[in-house]
């Protein structure tokens, strides 16, 4: 629909081909882009599970007439939407009535929210030096403005404390960064963002960074994770059954804080420092991940003994995501390996830096070209013309390492570069489990932003109820 809006603005009429399950989203997206009359032609069912004959029959009996009609006649009238003002009181009532009203308007996540009253919102605004009306960005799919005010409102609702406001602002700055690709956040795989925090704020604000690092229960980790999803829904516009088209989806992820004591002990940079932020400073990191799993009971007392198993974990979590290495995109797949502190220290004891770990993983996380071709072709049909890795190398769409020969059993890397396998340190300091995330490629690219504190941060923090 985004493409169609661009074409229409260029003066050329369009029609968008949409499978049956996406018709509702297409209409919502059209409205969100300010063009409610964008032409839509439906393909019944889903093309990927139809025989050639079924597909032809469906296209000729349903899609074709809609295509012709959309290009040659305008049937709908334009709808003008009336919405509240950006800083308008929309309801007055008891806590139950507020929650019911917000739920009915799709403004909550199904769990009670804190009512965003004037006083609560202003308590959040007191923790930033930026003006409430400042616009951080305009976000697709609904072309809504992300403002400091809207951050405060959703922060209240999520159950955040006011002193989390600088982090919330940085998160939205990352969200609106074009590099991140927030406009894809309603995609079919239903990936979920993982937020990681670095810096002195971890301890100042009581983030959990040890046992249960990704478990709910700690207000900072939990409420900020919830804020992310509320903001994505209310301000970016990915509301359930509308612009959010996750097949299954998942709930928001708890914020993970790295164990910076251990990072300092072993001399490894933090995740935010890897992304170019100042070492030792406060920062947030975001990326979208398609899934994750525990790597249980890592056994060994040298780096190599541990890493061979960890490389296996990174390889096994990776499947269709290879379309973001070669196929749909090139070189954008960036899985994340989280080492528990004791495993990180064991690896570092062998003299391995984080870069050494990434180099080892890159060289030892390989799959056969046959498997790679299965994921990008046979299983998913995501590369036009069923081209193989070898074909794509010949077309200049993949590095030569992927086409060294036609041997289907040749081993190829799952990422382009060692640093594409990202590494963090967190979790129970004395348990030998690790965790690995598979990543959604350019659809939620790793992005990091510094957290900027307001003037008089120390005084304000002291005055806040901790």
């Amino acid at each position: 629909m985004r493409v169609s809006a661009v074409v229409e603005r260029a003066g050329v009429p369009t029609v968008s081909l949409v499978s049956q399950g996406f018709v509702g989203l297409a209409k919502t997206s059209s409205l969100g882009m300010g063009m409610p009359d964008l032409g839509i032609a439906m393909v019944p069912g889903h093309p990927d599970v139809q025989t050639d004959e079924e597909l032809e029959r469906n296209v000729l009996s349903v899609t074709l007439e809609q295509v012709i009609s959309c290009l040659t006649s305008l049937e709908q009238g334009m709808e003008r939407i009336v919405e509240p003002g950006p800083r308008e009181v929309v309801f007055e009532g008891s806590i139950d009535e507020v929650n019911r009203y917000f739920y009915e308007n799709l403004w909550t996540d199904g769990v009670p929210i804190m009512p965003p009253t004037r006083g609560r919102i202003e308590a959040f605004l007191a923790f930033t030096d930026r003006a409430p009306h400042e616009v951080l960005g305009i976000m697709l799919p609904e072309n809504r403005a992300a403002t400091i005010w809207s951050i405060a409102v959703n922060g209240v609702m999520a159950g955040c404390r006011p002193e989390y406001m600088p982090i919330l602002v940085s998160l939205v700055e990352a969200m609106v960064d074009p590099k991140y690709g927030v406009e894809h956040s309603g995609n079919t795989p239903g990936s979920e963002t993982q937020i990681v925090i670095n810096g002195p704020l971890i301890k100042e604000l009581g983030f959990n960074y040890e046992q249960g690092a990704m478990r709910d229960g700690f207000q900072a980790n939990t409420s900020i994770g919830r804020f992310w999803r509320l903001f994505l829904s209310n301000v970016t516009g990915f509301q359930r059954h509308q612009n959010d088209k996750a097949t299954f989806g998942g709930t928001w992820r708890v914020v993970m804080a790295e164990n910076e004591d251990v990072l300092a002990e072993i001399g490894w940079p933090s995740l935010c420092a890897d992304m170019g932020l100042a070492a030792g400073g406060n920062g947030i990191f975001i990326a979208r991940y398609t899934g994750g799993k525990v790597i249980l009971s890592v056994y060994g007392n040298t780096a190599e003994e541990c890493l061979i198993y960890l490389a296996d974990g990174v390889k096994n979590i990776t499947g269709w995501e290879l379309i973001f290495t070669v196929g749909v995109a090139a070189g954008t797949y960036k899985p994340l390996l989280v080492l528990s502190p004791i495993i990180a220290k064991t690896i570092a004891k062998s003299g391995f830096s984080k870069a050494d770990v990434q180099k080892y993983l890159f060289e030892n996380t390989r799959i056969t070209a046959r498997q790679f071709d299965n994921y990008i072709g046979t299983y998913t049909n995501t590369v036009p013309g069923r081209r193989t890795l070898f074909d794509l190398v010949k077309l200049g769409k993949a590095p030569k390492i992927y086409g060294a020969s036609r041997d289907p059993e040749r081993l190829v890397p799952i990422v382009f570069r060692p640093e594409d396998i990202m590494v963090a340190v967190g979790g129970d300091p004395l348990r030998t489990n690790c965790y690995v995330f598979s990543q959604n490629g350019y659809i939620g690219s790793p992005t990091a932003k510094p957290v900027v504190l307001p003037r008089d941060w120390r005084a304000k923090l002291k005055a806040a109820e901790l």
Binding site: M1, V3, V6, V7, E8, R9, V12, P13, T14, V15, S16, L17, V18, S19, G21, F22, G34, V43, H46, P47, L55, E56, V59, L60, V67, L71, T72, S73, R80, I81, E83, P84, G85, R87, E88, V89, V90, F91, E92, G93, S94, D96, W107, P115, P116, E142, N143, R144, A145, A146, T188, N234, V235, V328, A329, N381, T382, V383, G385, G441
Partner: protein, 105 residues
């Protein structure tokens, strides 16, 4: 003792839309003799669907011609922004009268 419930005046949690509603482009009165572009995200058998549409439209609309998706590039890859930004210029150069964009699945 009855509970006295507080009343809360609450604010709108959404963001203001940063646009006005726009009209779509004028339609073509007929597809006969027109140039139709296929724009594609290279997914979900769009190439096969375009081929079906093309064949039938050529039968129904004399003189209709088509510009394939390779002229424009993949509209949903890592280079999406650059490719989509270049589309209006290419539509003009290629004298396209109408466009079919897919696939939303």
């Amino acid at each position: 003792m009855s509970e006295i419930e507080a009343t809360y005046s609450v604010y709108w949690p959404r963001g203001q839309r940063a646009f006005d509603v726009e009209p779509v482009a004028p339609k073509v009165n007929s597809l006969s003799g027109k140039v139709v572009a296929f724009l594609w995200d290279y997914l979900f058998r769009g190439d096969e669907i375009f081929a079906i549409l093309k064949k039938e439209m050529e039968t129904r609309f004399p003189g209709v011609t088509f510009v394939g998706p390779d002229e424009f590039g993949c509209t949903h890859g890592a280079d999406e922004r650059e490719i989509v930004a270049a589309i209006p210029g290419k539509l003009k150069t290629l004298r396209v009268d109408a466009a079919i964009s897919g696939m939303g699945c």
